[in-house]
Structures are given as C-alpha cells and as structure tokens.
Amino acid sequence: MDYKPVKTFNELAIKSLDDFVYGIAPYPVRAKNGMVIGGGTVYPEVNMTLPPMNIDESTMPEVRKQYAEMFEGILKRAKELYAPGVILEVELLPETTMVPKWGREIIKILLDKMKDYEAKYGLKSLVRCTPNDTREMLRPPLMRRGELLDNILLTFEKCAEDGADILSIESTGGKELHDEALVNCDIRKAIFALGVLGVRDMRFLWSNIVSIAQKTGAIPGGDTACGFANTALALAEQGMIPRIFAAVDRVATIPRSLAAFEMGAVGPDKDCGYEGPYMKAIAGVPISMEGKTAACAHLSAVGNIAACVCDMWSNESVQNVRLLSAYAPVAYTEQLIYDCRLMNEAAADGRNYALKVRDWLANSDSKLDPQAYVLRPDIVLEISRELVKEKDAFIATKKAAALAVEVIKRGVDKGEVNVAPREKKWLNIISSQIETIPDDEEKFWSEIQKEVDLTKWRPEEYDLKVTSA
C-alpha cells in the first residue's frame, strides 16, 4: 500500500528572516481550551519521568503516586509563577505503552488535575501524549502489524478519547540501520536509513496517528529525529564521532521529520527534534524545542540557539528526584517559566527586540560548534529554500546532507564556525561518500542491500523487495 502525502511543501512558509522569530508561527495551532501555540506567546513544556523503579502490576500503585506527585508539583509551580499556560508532556515508557490501560490511567490522572487547576485558579494547560515506539521490542521489528503496533495505536486512541490534547511519538523506523551508520560514520547508510526507510515508516505511522486525531479531535503534533540525530549528538558529545558528522546527520533528518506534516500533522513539533526550526521554516508549524534546560537529560552544544525560534520551550525529561529546592520536575518548571517570561517580555516591546534576543541566542552558540551553526536562522532558511525545490524525499535527504557539508565548509573558510583540527578531514570524507549515492532510489536500494545486515530489519516492512541473490 502507498501512503500518499496529503500536503507537499514547494515553498517556504517563512518568507523572510525578519518573520523567523520565537513565539510566532505562520500556522498557529489552537487547542480546545483556547490556548494558541505559535500565536505570539512562548509556553513552557514540562517533561518528567520516574525515578529508579520497576514497572509491573505490583508497582503500579507507586507509579500512579509518583506521576500524581509530579503533575501536582508542576501545575502548582506554574500557577504560583503566573505562567500564561503550560504544556505537560507524558512520554510513556515501554511498559505503560504495551499495557495501554496503564498509560491511559496516567494520562487520566493528569487530565483530572489539569481540570482542577483550571477551575480553581484559571491555569490553562495542555497534555502531550507520547507513547513509546515499542515496535522494536521485537527484533527484527514488525513495523506495520502485530500486537506492539496495535497497542501503540490503542494508547493514542484511548488517551485522545479521554482528552489528551496533542499526540506525538519518537518513531524509530530505519533506526536499525542508522545506528550502524553512526558508529561507522557512514553517511551513505545514514541517508538510506533516513531518506528511504525513515520516510516510508513516517508516512505509514503518521497516516494512522492523523486519522486517530481526526476521529477524536486531538491535535496531531509531530515527530522527532531523536533516535537518529540525537544519538549522533550524544555520540559527538562523548567524542565518539565527529561533531561535523552529527551536524550533517541532523540536516539529513529534515525530509524524514517533515513527512509527519506531509501526512497531516500540524505541530507543535516535538521538543527533542533539534531539526524543528527547519519544520517551522518549511511547513510553518509551531515547534517545541529544548536546549540548556535539557541538560538534565543529555548534554549538547546548542543550549541557547535551540530557543531562538521556538514556540514552546522544554526540558526533555527529568526524573522525580529530590533537589535542595524541590523535586526536579518542579525546579525545571520554574526554569522554563523564567526563560519564557524573558522571551515574551522582549517580544512585547516590539519585533525588533524579539529579533535581537533571537540573534543573541543564536550567535552565542553558532560560532562554537557545527551542530549549532546549522541551526542559525539565516542558514536554516538558506538550506530550506533549496530543499523545497526537491519533490522526492530521498533526493531531498541526499541534497540536505550535501548542503550541510557545503555550508559548514564555507563557514569554516569565513571563520564563522569553529571546527577542531582533528575533525576537518571529515568534511571531505563525508562529501566523497555522498558523491557515491545514485539519484535513483531503486538503484540505491539495489546497491545498498548488499552492504547491509538484513537480519536486523525486514525490508518488506518498508515495502522493499530484496532483488539480489
């Protein structure tokens, strides 16, 4: 079966650099309670997770208690600090996705508390429900059938029926191959994993999520390249792979993440997708981002620049442990709210001030790391403008990687971005790898099927047939 995009993006939604600013998206998203994302205000999006513990029938009472405590703490702090609104993301864990009734219970606890806070204090809030992509619990994974997939979709449906506002997922189609590509710094395989496998799986999965959203009135938010480019980011941060490779890989994830919007998702895009600014530039959707406030979850080189065109500002995820001030999710709520206050205050004084803040956020990081450099607003627009000319997602992926190399090379030559001496040779290594990739997807598949380990994933789950003996 062919999952045809319902939308295509042939031109940029953001036409000029002066329109590319935090808090405002070309196509804002309005929630049932009247909150508008991308309509002028940056909102905090708080994420939380359990402390060390097992999840099973016997520990579920404690699991519920932990979540209830975190939700209460976050909402209370948001109210005390006069947040104009707050989004809570529940990233369900594998167990609470595989048993949909558990995930549903957790979301229900949150929805009840949110109602309470709105009734009593007028605090507006939304919940983003993110089931875990448990398909890969089976190896090699079944992407388009089976109980694991059924339970992911059931979790979406039931939580949405109960009132979950935004639906998202960190999907993993193609990751089996991309992992191998990363540790070998093999951009050929990475491009195949993202531009062919990833795009195909996104189209399948998001056509399902969008139809659940339409049935239930929920907002189909968006996906993220977390399992791909954030793995690269984490590897680069540990010195395992060159930062240049992580930067090129990030840009190469654009067509894959965009596939959610081609299938009808509307944003807000997911926080950990650092490619978000490209989604906003091309599809015009509001985006959630995370940076220095996500240092609890992973270190990065994009702490400030990640905020520069965001519409929601997040902390990725923090576990419920006690700090000197309060429990960690409460402390992070406070940090996010203050960051948002500052951005909103500057914007209230006029667009020029918002643009100034945007540029400070961007320029304070962009010179120091190629991963930050490719997120600079003018560079996002420059690369996006080229990508929308490409109709085919695979060719766009290849082109994205090539453009990233080109832009970073130019940046190095102009002294705009710092690249460590031991990394420089990788620019040429990557670009000569890209040159070996044919422009024809079928041809690429027939070449690459001989190079990959077909015991790790099933081509038929991506509508591919093995042709070589």
């Binding site: 060390p52 999840i55 992992d179 710094c185 540990q238 010195g239």
Partner: protein, 210 residues
C-alpha cells in the same frame, strides 16, 4: 623482511590490505606467529586504544583498525592449523530486560573485542534467564550489563540475584554501566565493577581478571 613495526603501523592506519600483506610476508619469512600477533597486530591496536582514550581519534577510526587487525589474525589462523587466538577473557554482554538502548553497549563490546577479549553480545531486552543461559553456555569470566533507563536499571539487580540463585554468581564477575548507573548503585546491587565509558570499561575488565 617486513618488520613488526611496519605491521603495527598498518594496523594503526587501518590499512587492511597492507596488514594482510605484511602478515603474510612476516610468516613466510619465518616469524613466530605469536610475535606477529603481539608485537605487530596487537601493538598497533594498543596505540589506537591510547589515542581513542585521549579523545584524539573517533570510533570509526578505531573500527577500521580493529577490522585491519582481525584480517591479520585471520591470516595467522589460516597459516597455523592448530592456532588458538589468545584471549584476555570471555565476556557475556547485554542490555537488560525492557531496555532497547543499544549503541553504548555495542561500543563497549567493540572496545573489549579490539583489546583482545572474546565478547558474546546477546543484544537488547535480555531477561535474567537469558543471561543465565548464556553464562552456562559460554562460561564467561565476566557478565557485562547495560541499562539507560531508570525504569530498567533495577533489572540489573534481578539478573545478579538470578545468577546467585542459580549458583553462578561466584563463577563470574559482573560489571555494569549506562547513563543512570553510578559506582554507588553498583555497590548497592552487588556488582563487581562499574565504568562510565567504553575505554574505562576495558580497564575495569582487565583489573577484575588480574
């Protein structure tokens, strides 16, 4: 005659073809196979290990050298009918039940292998029974577990308890790692070792087996 130094350099450069050629040259001119391995192949890999530990080179470069070294080892094996590659020890490695994080564990495995350990990588989402089965089957010196989720790290304890219940805990050393893991946690659950990254994981294994 080719020298051990040249062979070690070829491993260092990740030049597989050159490694194969030099290994053959050395063997046919009568060099001792053990010396070819130790003074040539492993010596080159040791230099790579040092650079990697000091953050001077990247994983793909280590992998290229490891691949080149292995090609050399294969040449030695083919030339000697009864040759057994010396191993520093056997390690059973896996990510614990419920956890699918793969890459950190695989990097640890690669570093162990390239340092001369024999690694049985069981994969991800490995429940205690599977670890036990593997211990019985491979009789490793070390069981190495990885966990990245706070909600799966407790399965390390379940696995250690299950090893004890099966009477296997005294027969192996257990080491653990992954983002949420600390030395304190390792002590708490009765693991014998912990390491924060792949390079130090190798050091810990060497220490434990000394």
């Amino acid at each position: 005659m080719a020298s051990f130094e040249e062979l070690s350099q070829a491993v260092f450069d990740g030049d597989e073809a050159q490694v194969v050629k030099l290994t053959k040259d050395l063997l046919s001119s009568g060099a001792n196979p053990m010396e070819v391995i130790n003074k040539g192949l492993i010596a080159g890999m040791d230099r790579v290990g040092v650079l990697f530990k000091n953050n001077e080179i990247f994983v793909p470069e280590v992998l290229m050298s490891a691949k080149a070294m292995n090609a050399g080892v294969e040449v030695v094996k083919e030339s000697q009918q009864t040759f057994d590659m010396p191993s520093l020890g056997k390690i059973v490695l896996g990510t614990v039940k419920g956890d699918l994080h793969d890459i950190g564990k695989n990097l640890v495995g690669m570093m162990m292998e390239s340092n001369g350990f024999t690694v049985y990588n069981l994969g991800v989402d490995i429940d205690p029974d599977k670890f036990i089965e593997a211990v019985k089957k491979y009789q490793p010196d070390i069981v190495a577990m990885s966990a990245l989720l706070t909600t799966t790290m407790m399965n390390m304890k379940s696995t250690i308890d299950a090893l004890a219940a099966a009477g296997l805990k005294d027969k192996v050393k257990v080491i653990i790692g992954g983002a949420p893991i600390t030395q304190e946690f390792a002590n708490e659950i009765g693991a014998d070792g912990y390491a924060p990254d792949a390079a130090s994981a190798v050091e810990v294994c060497k220490q434990l087996l000394n």
